[in-house]
Subunit: 480 residues, 2 copies
Amino acid sequence: MTRLQKEDFSSWYLQTIQQAELMSYSEVRGCIVFRPDGFELWERIQAEVDAYLREEDIRNVYFPMLIPKSYFMKEAEHVEGFAPELPWVTSVGEEELEEPYALRPTSETMIGKSFHEWIKSYRDLPYEINQWANVFRWEKRTLPFSRTSEFLWHEGHTAHADEADARRRTLHVLNFYVKMLEEFLAIPVHAGQKTPSERFAGAVDTFSIEAMMKDGKAVQAGTSHYLGTKFAEAFDIKYLNQENQHTYVHTTSWAVSTRLIGAIIMVHGDEKGLVLPPKIAPTQVILTPVGPWKKEPKILETLHGIQSELKAADLRVRLDDSDSTPGFKFNKWEQKGAALRIELGPRDFDQKQFILKMRDLDTKETHLLDHLTPSFIQQKLDQMHDRLLINAQNFARENEHLTVETLADLKNHIKTCEEKQEIPGFVLIGWDGSEETESRIKEETGFTTRNIPFDPPIKKKYDLVSGKPAKHTVWIARAY
Amino acid sequence: MTRLQKEDFSSWYLQTIQQAELMSYSEVRGCIVFRPDGFELWERIQAEVDAYLREEDIRNVYFPMLIPKSYFMKEAEHVEGFAPELPWVTSVGEEELEEPYALRPTSETMIGKSFHEWIKSYRDLPYEINQWANVFRWEKRTLPFSRTSEFLWHEGHTAHADEADARRRTLHVLNFYVKMLEEFLAIPVHAGQKTPSERFAGAVDTFSIEAMMKDGKAVQAGTSHYLGTKFAEAFDIKYLNQENQHTYVHTTSWAVSTRLIGAIIMVHGDEKGLVLPPKIAPTQVILTPVGPWKKEPKILETLHGIQSELKAADLRVRLDDSDSTPGFKFNKWEQKGAALRIELGPRDFDQKQFILKMRDLDTKETHLLDHLTPSFIQQKLDQMHDRLLINAQNFARENEHLTVETLADLKNHIKTCEEKQEIPGFVLIGWDGSEETESRIKEETGFTTRNIPFDPPIKKKYDLVSGKPAKHTVWIARAY
């Protein structure tokens, strides 16, 4: 077996997503084509988010993608944060535009304008909407799914009567993200607050969930922002309160993006290719005839019967009756992350049994054909989900380092990891709240503050760099 | 009752979509904001199209929105057709791009590039995919939902081994569109072939469905194109056939867009506002307490019970327990196109009955509360769908004119309609196949050829303008 994942994670990643036919490169800088299996992962995430939104009575809308230049100018921090990455539409056909339009990097400004128009009274609050959209951020370094010039996301935007209600929504969404990642994507995360230097441009407070990839680097997998009254002031979003006073609303915004697809692959994938949590796998069950099956029509007949039965129970099942060898098929569907494989050949059939292979386990199991029911298969898939989550939790715990006290310790830790070919992972540090500490760490180690976790495993007492008393306990890591 | 719809259809339309809160204007030229009720109409159309795609095993993908300028240059007719309407991204941040990108008006070129890469052998064919996307066409005159600079659509793209298979898919999709419009949107259409001058830029054959609005104008509600080998030649899309020869594929593309929302409104709406086909209405049932209901808690209790029961049966039901008067509420929910209203007050309650009002009928009905079940409501909604379709069919038939033989006849028909304040509707004409006939008609009457229907009610013998023998029988009309 190759050791590409261990030895060159980045090459492994690029090879895996292409062999699995999740994407193709395009000639548009930093943009990719989402092929069917790649896009289906996104569609399944969409369905989970939409279910949350429905439950919360937050409805979908759609805003123009083009944002007039003047809109960005209204919120100073916002424009400063996004300006270098904005693509500009300057002409149509042969004609120059009077005012250029930016391709949206996010929609706070556009939506602020409409909130101003729609929100009148306390009776309209909270005002909560969501948009599914393509957004653009022309970043220097790009990586398929993880960081692309164009990506897909949902962006929730809400307006509230006061800070408490806005903060309630901000955290409620963050909790939903935590739950979705664990229960649906089998990805454990650390939820917490971003440091001021890592906040969303224009936010009062940014909260994030941070996940550890198999190379130890972090992916910021979802964010939720409390925007205070900043956008309300920039776009004059006021409501008449119960005392008949015009009052600024408090707004929030929150998002997960197609970057989650990158996280799924980097958390669960192995040397053979994709490993997909069964709840999201486009192929949950792959049926493969083996042995001299072409001479025995009953093999294919039986597999067709199994396929129909599992399909009827809403399982995503495919039958590979191509001419390729069993070995080729096993390999192909392992690369593509099919969760469960059923092999059936004449010899098994005569013994009224079949072979079952879970994607994440090395061993094969033999079962009686009589036991092959949708609920049996569902149980196997559920168990696989649990294993993937536990494995990812264990992996994260093993690579979280809690006893690094000084910058020298940190450098030493990184050096030791490099020598042993181990991953440096996440490091928990004390922080005095200064930007100086953050920039020193970043310059000297490439580690950045991920977040201030709500539930740190321990509380750190002293700042990693200054040695001063710590105000916060913070996760730091290298990040995508 | 106002007669705005009759007297000024265009003002009626703009007033209706705003009062119903389907959309808001934006400051981006020709772009609108889809508000929740407007976007939900689109989400329901999406679900219908996705169900067709699933049945046909056509999977969703996503391509970059930006298209390099050089791509357009590869298919001459295509670039000529779209060039004047293309918005261009020419810079990012402060930097000029070397090659500008167009915002996609459609994705044949982008997808052609990928088909070249993905399609190798006859075993890969047919290769069929679909994309949900925002697209841009900077048209001179815009109208919300109907013709906007940015709009949403799905675009199916397929590649086939030969012309016959490609044409089969082209028409199969068109038939699905016919069925969807009738069975889901209660809109009758004429399916047929576009004349060469009205073809999609780069198509060999374009087929369309054309619907009549209440002002007699046509909406091209869906199109399906047979593209021959034009894009295959432009993008070198070849496959190895069973004789081991490299052969060009035959491609198709097809789409419906958010323009369908405009059609729904203009086919069914009335003087009071929106009338929505029940299968697509965001509010199928509106519950309104009436009379001195606040003094009798059992009224609201009963309505809450009804709401739960109908919701559990997947009916889309809302309860309006605001402080407004019943008259205000009736008006509001009629404007918004709620399909069915249930009124309940203390007097009804004492008599164990409730009032039912269908949006499309003038009369109220009284029923026993015991009869209020989900299946009873569903039956009422199904009957409303049938009525809307029959009404639209009757309206179309009454405004289709089959006996216009010459250009003088046509002008006379239009003049008569103007005098009588009637709508000129659709006119069936004979056509010798010349562009001259089409342009004379357009210049002198504003009518354009809609399509050559597959099943014309009669066959016309002579060209409307030239008097020469007709090659085709064609629907003409003024169009959105």
